[in-house]
């Protein structure tokens, strides 16, 4: 027995392989890639130039510097589209296997319930990474084809080099990935409650919407900083000079708390669940 197998890596590789071979996964990543493409084409073909500050943040700068396509796309994708695709993947984790009947065979194999849950979590995170990276990479490619690429002027007015800008893109992608961890954990927990994957997916997406709405009601300010969507747009702090890591830290802490709480709920539910499908 190889040592990698002892750690259960076989199942992780298998999970990633099954996930990323699926047409649905590839189609979702393709759709994510279309966001920067449409955005860039719209700006490219439109005759009106936006006044500085008009439209979503950075949109006015896209035509001057292609490297902004990725950032702007992230802002556009964050509230709905990205959580939608993540809801699909996270909601499907356990419920999808249960619905298909493969869950019983994985457990008899025996995969071990904790091991399976952790594997599924890793798979879902891999999808989040793939999604945020797709946004950035597709944005950079289409941006550099249609628009000039050069040193980037940040919100603070400072100018950074192209290389530095690529590094910031990676930071923004990782910030976005971290932002989605809480949602992934919530989705997985809901997924252990049902054998209907579509139900788990919808519930997860709805929750991300509810959280964002609550975050926009000033009277509920007390709970705002505990909402898992609260820091989602905070990645713009990474586009300041010097970088403001404060929201990165608060966000990471908040997401970690969600992962711990909903991970524990998912585990306690899944560990004792009768698999009757």
């Amino acid at each position: 027995m190889s040592s990698s197998n002892r750690l259960g890596m076989s199942l992780v590789w298998s999970e990633l392989w099954v996930l990323f071979r699926r047409w649905r996964t590839l189609a979702m990543l393709g759709a994510i890639a279309l966001i920067p493409v449409f955005l860039a084409l719209a700006v490219y073909w439109s005759s009106d130039t936006l006044a500085p500050g008009e439209g979503p943040p950075f949109l006015d700068r896209v035509s001057q510097n292609g490297l902004f396509v990725g950032y702007t796309s992230t802002i556009l994708a964050l509230p709905l589209f990205l959580p939608l695709t993540i809801g699909v993947v996270a909601g499907d984790t356990i419920a999808g296997e249960a619905n298909q009947g493969t869950l019983r065979y994985l457990l008899i194999s025996p995969a071990g319930r904790i091991r399976l849950l952790i594997t599924k979590f890793i798979g879902a995170i891999a999808f989040v990474i793939a999604g945020t990276a797709t946004l950035m990479i597709a944005g950079a490619i289409i941006g550099s084809i249609l628009f000039p690429v050069g040193p980037v002027t940040l919100i603070s007015g400072d100018v950074i080099s192209v290389a530095e800008s690529v590094w910031r893109m990676a930071l923004v992608a990782s910030y976005t990935t971290v932002s989605m961890l809480g949602l992934v954990a919530i989705g997985m927990f809901i997924s252990t409650l049902t054998v209907v994957p579509v139900g788990a997916m919808a519930a997860t997406v709805v929750l991300s919407g509810v959280s964002q709405i609550l975050d926009n009601i000033p009277q509920l300010e007390l709970i705002h900083e505990f909402l898992f969507t609260h820091y989602w747009l905070g990645f713009v702090d990474l586009l300041r000079q010097p970088i403001d890591y404060a929201s990165f830290g608060s966000n990471a802490l908040l997401q970690l708390a969600y992962v711990v709480i909903f991970g524990a709920l998912a585990y306690s539910r899944f560990a004792s669940k009768d698999i009757l499908s």
Binding site: M1, S2, S4, N5, R6, G8, S10, L11, W13, S14, V18, R21, R22, W23, Q100, G101, T102, R104, Y105, L106, L107, I108, S109, P110, A111, G112, R115, L116, S272, D274, I275, L276
Partner: protein, 317 residues
């Protein structure tokens, strides 16, 4: 209760309740090592629920389970790698090929050696005759092929126990026969096999031991020979001479039932187990009775099964 040592599966007072309903009611199942054990019962009698508990998929409400000497579900990690199972039909990822599906399920087991994986998968596929369809997507498989792939999954590793829930569901006669042969050959290698089925002829042909479940309880359990010994024996005489036969049989101390079919009289009479027909036959011949057929036969397992589990569609309330 005897010690669990000689049994591949052993349960004590195993019970499962769903809400207020008792699906499995204090059963003591004992599957001897090396046996081919037929697990019978009408649909809804609790067979599959029992199997789910044996494999740790569902928690027992009460009672104990030992699977290959390991307490379930506590020692599932020790027991399950030695168990191959087909539970409530095969289930696969439809968008993956048969081979890739097996690779997926095999990699789920910590005990499966990745170095021998491909070799083991090819061997299992060959055993169920799916080598040519190995790279076809499972959604293109027929029901019988999926069933065979399910059996191949159970055979991915050397197993001490195979649990096969309705293994011939959806198979054509050739496939059924192949599965039967497969079970025989696996059994001769020393693997204990627990087969659940409602196809009685199948059990009769295959099994050394049988348990019959009805409405959550085990109503009969033992070796097939023991169970058959309890079956009623009948004398059956077919003749055109109704009156003379009735008299002769009544004189011999029997109370035959009579029915007419195709202009012939059929007399059936319950007789003791081990009944020797010679004497009666001689008497009938002496009385110059024309005899079309004279048989001493035992009730089939099916008759016994219906005896134990009740008649009709509504056997489970």
């Amino acid at each position: 209760m005897t010690s669990a040592e000689n049994y591949a599966v052993w349960t004590s007072e195993l019970t499962k309740q769903f809400g207020g309903q008792t699906a499995v009611n204090k059963i003591n199942l004992a599957v001897p090592k090396g046996s081919v054990f037929g697990f019978l019962g009408p649909n809804g009698s609790g067979k599959t629920t029992t199997i789910r508990m044996l494999l740790g998929l569902a928690d027992a409400t009460d009672g104990e389970i030992e699977l290959l000497g390991n307490k379930m579900p506590k020692q599932a990690e020790q027991a399950l790698p030695r168990v191959g199972a087909l539970v409530e039909g095969p289930a696969f990822y439809p968008y993956l090929s048969g081979k890739v599906n097996l690779r997926r399920l095999d990699s789920a087991s910590k005990n499966a050696d990745p170095k021998t994986r491909e070799q083991r998968i090819d061997r299992a596929l060959a055993k169920v005759g799916l080598t040519n369809a190995a790279n076809k997507k499972v959604h293109k498989y027929s029901l019988g092929m999926k069933q065979r792939l399910g059996i191949a999954n159970a055979l991915l590793q050397e197993r001490d126990l195979l649990v096969l829930d309705e293994p011939t569901n959806g198979l054509d006669p050739q496939g059924t026969r192949e599965v039967r042969n497969l079970i025989r050959s696996l059994s001769s290698d020393g693997t204990t096999i627990l087969v659940s089925s409602h196809l009685l002829s199948e059990i009769e042909q295959l099994c050394s031991h049988v348990a019959v479940m009805s409405a959550g309880k085990i109503v009969a359990q033992g070796s097939l020979a023991e169970l058959q010994a309890q079956n009623q024996t009948y004398l059956k005489v077919v003749t055109p001479d109704a009156e003379k036969t009735l008299k002769a049989l009544t004189d011999a101390g029997m109370k035959p039932k009579q029915e007419t079919k195709h202009g012939l009289e059929i007399f059936t009479s319950e007789v003791e187990h081990g009944f020797d027909g010679d004497e009666v036959l001689r008497k009938l011949l002496k009385a110059k009775i024309k005899i079309k057929s004279f048989t001493v036969e035992q009730a089939s397992l099916e008759d016994r099964f219906v005896d134990l589990t009740g008649e009709g569609f509504d056997v489970v309330q």
